[in-house]
């Protein structure tokens, strides 16, 4: 891959999405978003629910049409879904009649690649996420966290270059969520895919990403692009450091500012918040 394409592996130019719902007024879900992601970077898109970040991600995945603008991945403009992209959705979306292993192999079947060649990869991935004993269990026999682990394996099994994650752990309880974050970081360090991770959790974004993009509701665009300085490999303990909490505080302020603007108030960070941030 040429150097330019590596530096701008994912490239969004003035991307907009407008929903026209019958006669009702048009809703601008995404408004003129531009950013680039270099190859191998983990980027989190952080924003409140309903700010259009999921729509943005689906457009990058080729699952939603753009109203305006241009998305290119690896230098080629997106026209539809690609097999070089792996997607994790909010729910695990496992096929209920297939075992964990067969669910992981589902993309291989769809892509008409030889299943036998990938069976070992699938097994290794499942072992890697701690599901050794659950390969032949059906989804209803697995816990919510286990199902999302299967979904991670399914997104990785066909070795995509880009991993898109749409709040994949938002339905899990806090403890399981922390576990999954650690696991994801661990996996990502091993496979180093370029990753776009959509979340509404500030701590999750800061913990996982190299870079956090803050998206607001009005306007539905990127208002902050922050590089996260923590070295890798990271561990959960960085969450207790002062720097980590400062970054979180800063991001929270940016989100709150846009909230105030939405309500027609002047953006002014609260005193209490400033104290908390230190």
């Amino acid at each position: 891959m040429p150097m330019v394409e590596q530096a701008r592996y994912v490239e969004l130019t003035e991307v907009s999405k407008v929903y026209r719902d019958g006669t009702a007024e048009a809703i601008e879900a995404v408004s003129s978003v531009s950013f680039t992601v270099p190859l191998g970077q983990f980027v989190a898109v952080l924003g409140p629910s309903g700010c259009g970040k999921s729509t943005l991600l689906m457009m990058v995945g080729g699952l939603e049409a753009l109203t305006a603008g241009r998305i290119a991945i690896g230098g080629k403009p997106m026209t539809g879904p690609r097999d070089s992209i792996g997607i994790m959705f909010q729910d695990a979306t496992l096929l209920p009649w297939k075992s964990a292993l067969d669910n992981v192999l589902f993309p291989i079947r769809v892509l008409k690649r030889p299943q036998d060649a990938y069976r070992d990869t699938a097994r290794q991935l499942l072992e890697r996420v701690g599901l050794d004993g659950f390969m032949h269990k059906k989804p209803h026999e697995l816990s919510g966290g286990m199902r999302q682990r299967v979904a991670i394996c399914r997104a990785l099994v066909y070795d995509p270059e880009l991993l898109l994650m749409d709040e994949p752990f938002s339905a899990l309880d806090a403890i399981t969520r922390d576990e999954m974050n650690e696991l994801l970081l661990d996996l990502w360090q091993q496979y180093t895919k370029t990753a776009l991770f959509v979340t509404h959790s500030i701590r999750e974004a800061v913990f996982l990403a190299d870079r956090v993009l803050v998206m607001t509701r009005r306007p539905a665009t990127i208002v902050e692009d922050l590089t996260i300085p923590f070295a890798r490999p990271r561990s959960m303990s960085i969450g207790e450091s002062r720097e980590f909490n400062e970054i979180c505080g800063h991001l929270r302020e940016r989100i709150e500012e846009s909230h105030h603007r939405e309500r027609g108030q002047r953006a002014e960070p609260s005193v209490a918040r400033r104290e908390l941030v230190g």
């Binding site: 539809g80 879904p81 959705f89 096929l95 769809v110 892509l111 209803h140």
Partner: protein, 278 residues
């Protein structure tokens, strides 16, 4: 304090004691209740029937006693079985035709919004017409051959299949389809791998209704036009005032109905083993 102590000690002792206790006979009976109770009820009804007919001196032409029906059944059984053959075959043919056409039309409706808007309301409307009233029309159109009866029975049993299959195809989890599309699957792959398996329970519930409807359709057809078949034979026996023979024929018809319905249910069970949610 004492109460608490007692409670804990009771809990600690209970698991050790429970398995040792012999299962009382009443518990066995309760477990067999779903089998014993209906059989006993049926037997009681037959007994009351037998006694009532004797006590009130009801003529056998009006209501023959069960014992006489059994005797008649034994006498005319070879004849009844011969007449059962066309009834069974016609019902099966009608059922398979209805299934193929029904599922086919449901697929068409699923993939063509235009055809869905055009046909679906009319199908629901037709579902409400007492279709049995149309039986004479089939004689006018297709004559008194077996094909005419099969066509009528297929027509009658076709509606439950289309409606339930269409609902099954439409009620698929949107996220599963999105997953499929994200993996660059073709529409046909999505259908085979996701939509069809998801719709199977709905299709089977339609098929079970259709199986009973097909038998009803064939019997109605035989009432009107046939020279053989159980429907014909029931009409023939009624013209000769052989009421016990009518009951005997009904019994054979019942057995055919239960067998064919059971076959569909069995097929459903086999399919569920592969595509079951659990």
């Amino acid at each position: 304090m004492t109460a608490e102590y007692q409670a804990t000690s009771r809990i600690a002792v209970a698991p050790a004691r429970l398995p040792r206790r012999a299962v009382p006979a009443s518990q066995h009976l309760r477990r067999l209740r779903p089998v014993i109770l209906p059989v006993l009820t049926g037997g009681a009804v037959l007994l009351v029937w037998q006694l009532l007919v004797a006590a009130l001196r009801i003529p056998a032409v009006i209501l023959p006693p069960p014992v006489e029906i059994a005797q008649e059944l034994w006498r005319v059984l070879p004849l009844l079985l011969r007449h059962a053959v066309p009834t069974t075959l016609d019902s099966l043919m009608a059922f398979f035709a209805a299934t193929a056409l029904g599922v086919g039309l449901a697929i068409t409706i699923t993939y063509s919004p235009f055809l869905r808007d055009m046909l679906y309301p009319n199908l629901v409307f037709f579902q409400l017409i007492p279709k049995i009233a149309l039986a004479p029309l089939f004689v006018v159109w297709l004559g008194i051959s077996s094909e005419s009866r099969v066509a009528f029975a297929a027509f009658v049993s076709f509606f439950p299949i289309v409606i339930s299959a269409a609902v099954g195809f439409a009620n698929i989890e949107a996220s599963a389809l999105r997953l499929c599309r994200s993996l660059t699957a073709s529409e046909w792959q999505c259908f085979l791998m996701v939509r069809f398996p998801f719709a199977l329970p709905a299709i089977f519930s339609g098929m079970k209704v259709a199986m009973t409807m097909a038998i009803i359709g064939v019997i109605i057809g035989e009432f009107i036009s046939a020279k053989a078949g159980l429907g014909f034979y029931i009409l023939y026996a009624s013209s000769r005032m052989e009421t016990a023979v009518i009951f005997a024929a009904l019994l054979v018809l019942c057995i055919i109905g239960v067998t064919l319905f059971g076959a569909v249910a069995l097929a459903e069970g086999l399919v569920r083993r592969v595509y079951g949610r659990r």
